[in-house]
């Protein structure tokens, strides 16, 4: 729980100090569990090479795996040409596996910390479709994520000091 509080504190700080944001929605498909989900994300520092992306995903109840994950990605733009951005990403998320009891997997438990590595591409400025491939190191599963980001804020570049760093 403390880690979640810290996560939201960080989010608050980032929100106050960074200059451009985009809101996104996405659809997800886990290639190993054959499960479909929906996701939402906030892309901070949207116009920078290094981006912070708090996000939430939910794999729906009709799937073989029913779960949600709340986490944060760090994205680094490797190839940025005009409106095109190809990036690598790392993600850490708190996961609630809601139907873990249905699984025959040894050591299955409802609460997990998932680390993910992946890569993605996006194109656009105000509306940015994106596609990601991500690998979950914990469960050794890959999923695809496709969605669209809407630019919602072009703030000032003025740096504000975060109270958390005082």
């Amino acid at each position: 729980m403390l880690r979640l509080v810290f996560f939201f504190l960080m989010l608050q700080c980032l929100n106050g100090t960074l200059n451009a944001q985009a809101l996104g929605i996405s659809g997800l498909y886990n290639l190993q569990t054959e499960s479909m989900g929906v996701g939402a994300r906030l892309e901070l520092r949207s116009d920078k090479r290094l981006q912070w992306v708090p996000q939430f995903s939910y794999f729906l109840p009709f799937n073989k795996v029913h779960e949600w994950t709340l986490g944060m990605s760090v994205q680094y733009g490797v190839v940025r040409v005009n409106k095109f951005n190809a990036y690598g990403l790392a993600h850490l998320g708190y996961n609630q596996w809601l139907n873990y009891q249905d699984s025959k997997m040894k050591g299955a438990q409802p609460q997990n910390w998932n680390g993910e590595l992946g890569a993605g591409v996006q194109y656009g400025k105000s509306f940015k479709p994106f596609l990601e491939w991500r690998y979950n190191v914990h469960f050794q599963e890959a999923h695809l994520q496709a969605g669209i980001l809407f630019r919602v804020k072009k703030g000032s570049a003025k740096k504000e000091k975060c109270a958390a760093y005082d």
Partner: protein
Amino acid sequence: MKKASLFLATLSGLILVWSSCSRDRIEQDLNEYESPNTYLDSKKQDEQVFVIDSAGTGPIIGNQGTAIWGGIDCLRLPNGDTIDYPFVVKLVELYLPKDMIYYQMPTVGSGAVLETAGEIRLRAEKDGTPLALAEPCAFKVSMPNADPHINYMNVYYGNESVSPVDWRLDLGYWGINAMQSSIFDVDTIGYTAMIEKLGWINADRNFYSGTTHAITFDSDVDDLSNVAIFVYLPATHSLIQAHDLVASGIPSGVNAKIIAIAVNGSGNLFHYYDELTIIANQTVQVTMSSISDTNLTSLLDQL
């Protein structure tokens, strides 16, 4: 170009980890089985049929030694009418754990595991219509036993409206006013009693009132949903059948023999066997293995 190369290298690395992808969370390719009921039914004791066409002194004797004394005057049709000759008496005898397993007849009454000296099913019919005993009539039954104890076993009746049959002492459940002793006496055959209701009869004793434990059955390799699982307590000849993969009400400290039976889609027989001392709730990991009918029969004979 350098960045593009870096991106491609990263992508290649990520594709490499694809080979370590796992479907463990949803993997369901457990060994599947079909219901073993057909197999168990093929092995169970036959119901013996005796056609009674005239008066006599009796008794009717089953092929395992059960003796029955009863008269036509005690038998009634469902509408209360008396009958005349001939009529039929049917008898099933379950004295061995093997036979109780084949018949899937555990010795549990109202959740309590019972000690048993054997189970019989005694029925009567007239032209295919089930008959009942008229009150206050009773049939005398003697059940073979090499070492019977006086004032030890009780007459339990089987409630067939639930599955598996639940054993009850109280005849009032069926609206019958008990007139006879509910305790088995001892005779030269074994245990003897006057029974006041036809159907399943069990020489039982509720032998334990302390802490009980449950065994939960699980498997990483076998789908146990169609596996018949029994727990046999040799000290009291008690039989428990797992329901929803749980066998409960097991007295603390007893030695238990676990036998699981399954048949796969090709008709091949599988089993699991283990012996445990039950001192706490526990989970048993089951791994079914192939066995011949001969070997399984031999295993059940040795319970």
